[in-house]
Amino acid sequence: MNRRLQIAILALAVAVAAGCAEVKPWERDLHARADMKADQHDAAIDDHIYFSKEASSGGRGFAGGGCGCN
């Protein structure tokens, strides 16, 4: 793995660890809103388009493929 990725992983892990003020179940009203979740169809369609037009794939989910388009 290249150095840049290692540093990025470490930096983000520290950021997560530092930001963990516990939120109680009854404080989850904002998180529970539908707009706080990615739209599955939009994500799948975008992944498919960009997979067939660019050299990268995956990230959010599996890099996979399953298409002769690339």
Partner: protein, 436 residues
């Protein structure tokens, strides 16, 4: 199996649902419905009569009870249009052979060679089963499949999630395995061998080799964490690794062989098309790794999501992606969501705009623009309107991709041509989802 009617919303289900990517119990004020149907109609169109795709995607998800659900998704794609063949423009008329040695096409001087024989229908079916394992764990197993005229994909995947820290932290791991079968129209060309003319006398001799099905195995592993940062913020981090082995070459892409001084195409030999073009060849394995981070934040009325992805692979491609959305909840029934995305990548080690006559033949070479140095951005918006049972939405996006139109390899005549033409596409999507 007895099917329990889902009971009304519980806070436990609600809090569980927002933590993972696994579809979990939706938050509902009244009795939760059994079925959720999500449908999308997509139009994707590129400029200059390049690719046009019409696509329909329908997902059905059924909740059996609070802990178990399954999902099926069917996608039908219909693609037509032209794709860059990989050859470069020239000051002469160029003739190419289509797949199967027939359907040759002619490209006028100065024009980018597009393979106009691009036509495909793709049908994809995927499904998953999702279940809770006690209070803090969930798993999902699924399959994926797709069929095209020249391509078949079959895959299995699984995912396990566990909550910690009063559900403030969720750790997940996943794995996927896919086996793809490639059956190029007209047989599989030999990598870095010349393109033959229509009356290919050698074709019959080669038929046995050329008609063998080729396979590609893809293994992906993924692990990550979702962390509640505050009452308003959520952060997801994940790392994924993908290994592909097998036939990774694009059988329809070629490279021009040009004179190193004039940039003019080199004449082909007998049996070949008038100028010399070689079929591309890529390595038979590729390892990719990605780091993904997404931050979501809820305002009182609106919300936003921004994500980053770093990817690199052992082909020498490194890419960075930034994607941001802002959800403006106009009122209880409608929203507007602007979206921006920026992407940049470095070229694969074996990417070549052209091959020069007299140079030693490389082990691998491809002129596929998707492996070039390039950048792209997307700008668009989505508008959604809720109805009593569901939600309508429209999404419009503009995509623009630009490489270096005149790279260092643009010698002689080539300096006056656009060797890597920019790409502009419009994405229009209509969606309707409902529950019952």
């Amino acid at each position: 199996m007895q099917l329990k009617k889902p009971i009304g919303s519980s806070l436990a289900a609600a809090t569980c649902g927002l933590l993972g990517v696994l579809p979990a119990a939706p938050v509902a004020a009244q009795e939760a419905p059994d079925w959720e149907i999500d449908s999308s109609l997509l139009y994707y169109g590129e400029d200059n009569n390049r690719v046009t795709d019409g696509s329909l995607m329908i997902s059905a998800r059924r909740r059996l009870d609070e802990d178990r659900s399954y999902n099926l998704t069917l996608t039908v794609d219909s693609l037509t249009g032209a794709t860059p063949s990989g050859a470069v423009p020239a000051n002469v008329v160029q003739t190419f052979t289509g797949p199967s040695g027939g359907g040759s096409y002619v490209v006028q001087p100065g024009e980018t060679p597009y393979d106009t024989n691009f036509l495909d229908t793709r049908i994809a079916l995927s499904g998953s089963w999702n279940q809770a394992l006690g209070d803090a764990m969930r798993y999902g197993i699924g399959f994926s499949s797709s069929d095209e005229y020249d391509y078949l994909h079959l895959g299995l995947n699984g995912r396990l999630e566990r909550d910690f820290n009063n559900r403030n932290t969720t750790v997940f791991v996943g794995a996927a395995f896919g086996q793809d079968k490639v059956k190029p129209v007209g047989g599989t060309p030999v990598g870095l061998a010349p393109m033959f003319g229509e009356d290919d006398e050698n074709e019959e001799d080669d038929d046995e080799d050329r008609n063998v099905d080729l396979t590609k195995d893809v293994v992906d592993v993924l692990f990550g964490v979702t962390q509640v940062l505050s009452r308003r913020s959520l952060l997801e981090l994940s790392f994924s690794y993908g290994q592909s082995d097998g036939y990774l070459t694009d059988p329809y892409k070629i490279l021009s062989v040009v004179d190193p001084l004039t940039g003019a195409p080199v004449p082909g030999l007998e049996d070949e098309v008038p100028y010399l073009y070689l079929y591309e060849k890529r390595p038979d394995s590729r390892a990719k790794q990605s780091l993904f981070a997404e931050w979501r934040h809820a305002f009182d009325r609106d919300s936003m999501a921004i994500n980053f992805r770093l990817m690199d692979d052992d082909w020498g491609v490194q890419s960075q992606t930034v994607d941001a959305r802002y959800r403006w909840n106009i009122n209880d029934d409608s929203y507007l969501e602007p979206h921006l995305r920026y992407y940049t990548q470095s070229a694969a080690d074996f990417y070549r705009t052209v091959l020069f006559q007299g140079d030693p033949q490389p082990d691998f070479a491809s002129a596929d623009h998707r492996l070039a140095d390039m950048g792209a951005y997307t700008a668009g918006f989505k508008y959604g309107r809720r109805t009593q049972r569901g939600e309508f939405s429209i999404r419009l996006e503009y995509y623009r991709q630009e490489g270096d139109p005149s790279p260092g390899s643009a010698v002689g005549d080539l300096a006056s041509f656009e060797l890597v033409p920019p790409l502009t596409a419009i994405i229009a999507q209509f969606g309707y989802k409902f529950r019952f």
